[in-house]
């Protein structure tokens, strides 16, 4: 009974000589909203295609509800895909599109129309039943694609960059709706995106991918606050990265030599090993001496006003190749050319494992 809804076991895939997935394992719980986050070429779309049955993995297995689905064709598995370009049938009405899956199951016309109307109502498009896809806006087509996939009640809904074609404002609005719809229908959603804000806003479970591997996974709050790898720390939100080596190892802490001075942290790394530290922009303190860890001085090179805050870039005086990224309140008084002391709360320094 405790078997996960989807169980991806050690999947690898290559296109010709090119390895796009390397030994990926992942489990997905029923009713969860999972985001596969990564840059283009990270393998996230290929992983989704393997889940949907459009690509057969070179190695590994995919189990859905405990059944081996690795080479089951798309139609025969309990997944449905919402395509990036929506792939609505241009010659059919919206109702015909939404009812298509039921029609293939042999459901009679009246039931089909009723269910299609319900699905359209769910996505807030009840009035569009008789329209043609080309009469709809981008956001509306997106909803029709969603309704078409949901109406056949899949166990897992796969979304391939579903908001990629929408403008920013509409994307944020659709995000909220997607989340609400998912909560209402309770279907497991697996959603591919390269937009980290989208990932943080939607995910119950966030999977960060890079270069065919899973870099990090977990609740978005955890991935943001304690990223496991350097990639995760810079892709899911920004970070200042300090590279260094372990100088001393104490009882429960160790001291790491960095270009801006030694930093002591609770950890048990062996002496002499390389280490990387990440600090989130909102945790850097400029100017005022703080009780935390001192990180030397820096010259402010850029101050960008972002409305609710100021984004500040500063170059370290001790190490000119090191760039601090900080987020200050909108009221902070700072300008380009200022030389400031940099520090941060020791608890907020993230020790990366790679």
């Amino acid at each position: 009974m405790n078997a996960p809804l989807v169980d991806i076991r050690d999947v690898s895939h290559r296109f010709g000589q090119h390895r796009v997935l390397r030994n990926v394992s992942l489990t997905i719980e029923a009713g969860s909203y999972t985001i596969l986050l990564g840059p283009s070429g990270s393998g996230k779309t290929t992983l989704l295609s393997i889940l949907g049955g459009f690509v057969n993995p070179s190695e590994g297995k995919v189990l859905i509800r405990g059944q081996d689905c690795t080479s089951v064709p798309p139609a025969k598995r309990p997944t449905t895909t919402v395509f990036q370009d929506y792939a609505l049938f241009p010659h059919m009405s919206v109702g015909g599109n939404v009812g298509f899956g039921l029609r293939m199951q042999g459901v009679d016309g009246t039931t089909r129309a009723a269910k299609a109307r319900d699905a359209l109502a769910l996505v807030g498009l009840a009035a569009a039943f008789d329209k043609k896809p080309h009469q709809l806006s981008g956001g509306q087509r997106q909803r029709v694609a969603l309704a078409r996939a949901l109406v056949i009640e899949p166990a897992v809904l796969l979304l391939d960059e579903p908001l990629g074609a929408l403008d920013l404002k509409l994307r944020r609005q659709m995000q909220d709706e997607l989340k609400a719809i998912q909560k209402r229908v309770g279907t497991a959603f697996i959603h591919v995106t390269h937009d980290q804000e989208e990932a943080m806003a939607l995910a119950d479970h966030c999977v960060v991918m890079n270069d065919g591997r899973i870099e990090d996974e977990g609740p978005p709050e955890r991935v943001y606050a304690r990223p496991a790898t350097r990639f995760s720390a810079t892709f899911m939100g920004e970070s200042t990265i300090l590279a260094g080596t372990v100088l001393e190892t104490g009882d429960r802490t160790c001291t790491i030599a960095t270009p801006v001075g030694p930093v002591s942290l609770p950890s048990a790394l062996p002496r002499g090993s390389a280490a990387a530290l990440a600090i989130r922009p909102e945790h850097l303190v400029l100017g005022a001496a703080s009780a935390g860890t001192k990180l030397g001085k820096a010259d402010v090179s850029d101050v960008v006003f972002q409305g609710s805050f100021k984004r500040v870039l500063a170059t370290s005086v001790e190490e000119p190749s090191l760039r601090f990224i900080a987020k200050l309140p909108a009221t902070a008084v700072v300008q380009a050319g200022d030389r400031v002391a940099i520090s941060c709360d020791t608890d907020q320094i993230i020790l990366l494992t790679d």
């Binding site: 949907g52 049955g53 459009f54 064709p73 798309p74 139609a75 997944t79 449905t80 895909t81 395509f83 990036q84 370009d85 792939a87 609505l88 049938f89 241009p90 010659h91 298509f100 899956g101 293939m104 199951q105 043609k132 896809p133 080309h134 078409r148 996939a149 056949i152």
Partner: protein, 260 residues
Amino acid sequence: MRSVARIVSWIYALAVYGFIFLPVVVLVLFSLQSTSFPIPPFTGPSLRWYEAVLSDSRLTSALVNSLLVALISSAAAVTLGFLSAWGFARFVLPGSGLLRGLITLPLTVSYLIIGMGLLVLFNWAGVPKSLLAAGIGHVVINLPLCFAIIYSQMGDHQINIERAARDLGAPEWKVLLLITVPVMAPAIFAGFFLSMTFSWDEFVISFLLTRFETTLPVEIWNLLRSGLNPKTNAVGSLVFAVSIVLVVFFELTLLRRKPA
């Protein structure tokens, strides 16, 4: 200076229009006079030669033959072209590039040579000259055209549409009938229409491969042997008029509709 250039370009355009229309105007004009020679001075108007054409059973049966050959060979060409375009666009086949090149190869060879080849082959194999033989030749010239047009329209978006249909549970034959054919209809129709016009107007293959029963262009050619003949003017004008009506019809109905 500007206006001089403008006037010069208008004069040039009118001169080219004049050149393009001169033979057509002469053709139609002298089809309308009753004298036995389609030459000046114009003594018209008379429909005498149109009556002669319509009561000439050889011309009318050639016209029916031409229509039949055009319809059947175009239907065959578009069917073969569509199926192969679908196969090549949707599946990874070994040597796909080479095989696609083979299908489009006849496009680069002149009709005369295609006709010659078929003549030699049929002569050697003992296949008699007939409308069927000419129709086979017309499929050879139109199949690559239909293939190229339809294949070029099977883009990634179409591929995704079919995948969506399969994902929603449609078996292969339903994908074909309910999704692919309707979505590809404009390209299929364009291929069919172009094939029709090429087959309808084709001379040299029909000339080489038919004998007693023949197509309209060959029958007109036979008329030409008697020199300048107003009957030729009349039949040429009729074909022209029918073509114009069809072109205007298609222009107003199908091409006007812009797919999303």
